[in-house]
Symmetry: C2
Subunit: 297 residues, 2 copies
């Protein structure tokens, strides 16, 4: 733990928390409790189902019900039974609600501008650049990893992204029907596992394991979204997969990879994988790696 760096981060935390908190609450509240403003905002232009709203904002059903009643009394939203299923209720903004949302939007803009406005023009650009950098790098620490069902739309999307990436990068292109397959059922317990990395719920990376009993497990489908690279996600994903493998009784992990995937190869090497003799006949592979897992790692 780097003490000087920690001191700077704490100073940053204090300054920004104060600055953002003070302004946002006073300015965006509009005399209304913040919970109502947040809900109003979340209903948005397109309306939403109450259950979906509750899930997004993490509200208790009783609490959500009362917040919506209050907004309805203020004439900002209209709640009515959904057409398809009369149990679920559909919330929509009234014209007054739309106007109020627009006002909140303008106010949030003004809060943002109040950070920039006092600065000379060139410093404004510096501040924005630094904020973009902080934003991006902070997001890395909010990424969550989890083993998921490989048949869901999100999982399929990740795997498609992975295929697209390979197709772009391999000198020969990539055809998923050639070479060694990994069907969805092979990536589900107990045959295997698919781990997905999510940023604010959006998938930004994946990686999979195929178990082979006492024989080495295979590592497959390692992919990190283009806009989330350079944040160390690949390494964390690999570590999570190894942890999961150890927990499943795996002793050795092996993988094959293509020579064009330089960052991946560097990642494997620096994570303790050593290159071994070809152990399968994957047509797209140039390198084969293996690692003996240990509890501590």
């Amino acid at each position: 733990m780097d003490a000087a760096a920690v001191r700077k981060v704490r100073s940053f935390n204090r300054t920004t928390a104060e600055r953002i908190g003070a302004l946002s609450d006073g300015f965006l509240g509009r005399g209304r409790p913040m919970g109502e403003s947040r809900t109003l905002w979340e209903v948005g232009q397109d309306g939403a189902e109450v259950r979906e709203l509750r899930a997004r904002l993490g509200l208790d059903s009783g609490y959500a019900s009362r917040v919506l009643q209050s907004l309805e009394r203020q004439g900002l939203v209209k709640v009515r039974p959904s057409g398809a299923d009369a149990r679920v209720r559909q919330v929509e903004l009234t014209p007054a609600g739309v106007a109020e949302c627009a006002e909140l939007d303008r106010r949030a803009d003004r809060v943002a501008w109040s950070f920039l406005e006092p600065l000379p023009v060139d410093k404004r650009a510096n501040l924005v650049n630094a904020m973009v950098e902080v934003d991006r790098l902070l997001q890395a620490s909010t990424v969550v990893f989890g083993v998921e069902d490989p048949t869901t739309a999100d999982a399929q999307w990740c795997i498609q992204q992975y295929f697209d990436e390979l197709n772009q990068r391999f000198e020969t292109g990539f055809d998923p029907t050639r070479g060694i397959q990994a069907e969805a059922h092979e990536l589900m317990a107990p045959a295997g596992a698919l781990m997905i990395a999510r940023l604010r719920g959006r998938p930004v990376g994946c990686g999979a394991l195929k178990f082979h009993g006492r024989a080495p497990a295979e590592l497959k489908r390692m992919w990190v979204s283009r806009d989330a690279r350079g944040l160390g996600l690949g390494r964390r994903l690999l570590a999570e997969l190894e942890r999961h493998a150890i927990a499943s009784g795996v002793k050795v992990v092996r993988l094959e990879t293509n020579r064009t995937l330089k960052e991946a190869i560097a990642l494997y090497r620096s994570s303790g994988y050593r290159e071994v003799q070809r152990f399968n006949d994957e047509p797209y592979a140039h390198h084969w790696f293996e690692k003996r897992l240990r509890k501590g790692s």
Copy 2:
């Protein structure tokens, strides 16, 4: 208002508020209401008077009283009448309170570290650098300007800083007893005004006006602290002084300055001051400027 920049600032606000808020509350609360933790922290190693504590934290007297009682019941602080004035009460940490503060400190360190920890080492440095930049530039928007009594210790300190700066920069050094004086009473209403810029209560700049009835007012004592330069404070200070001058019925402001003060000269020129013939015999001056004030400016 630059829409693209505003969008980036808003994204930054959202990310950091979420990240800092979520972690800090859960982690620093220690099962205790946050108000108590904040108060405990503010009492600090040296103890404090209750009224001072209230002022710093902006608490109601009744509320503060109850928070302190609760902390006392937990054995973390000791409240007793102050020696000098039996109305005011002095708060001090008990040994348990000192230990608890140290624990809070360690936790705040861990929160800070949790931002850096998931990142690869080189990105950690990038994040810290960007945070330092944001921290510094955001502070600019928290600076407040106000006309103050020139006889206070803070005001005297600012003027001394100004003299020291001149003494370092003038080729000939600077002796405040030579040249045209501006005594404290000349900078007080109705003869003049001293404006001080403060960052978190600490003075970081000053500037003064001397009124001469219908004749042009004089601008004096423009100074910005070394560590707050490059944030556009000089320009804002000048604008505030001009606003104050207009409100006091001033039509024209003039000033003299030394050729070594290049940034100041550039500021005057770009703020609408034009160079005029020498209008006094200030021995340290090389340039004389004048500006006709207008309501809108």
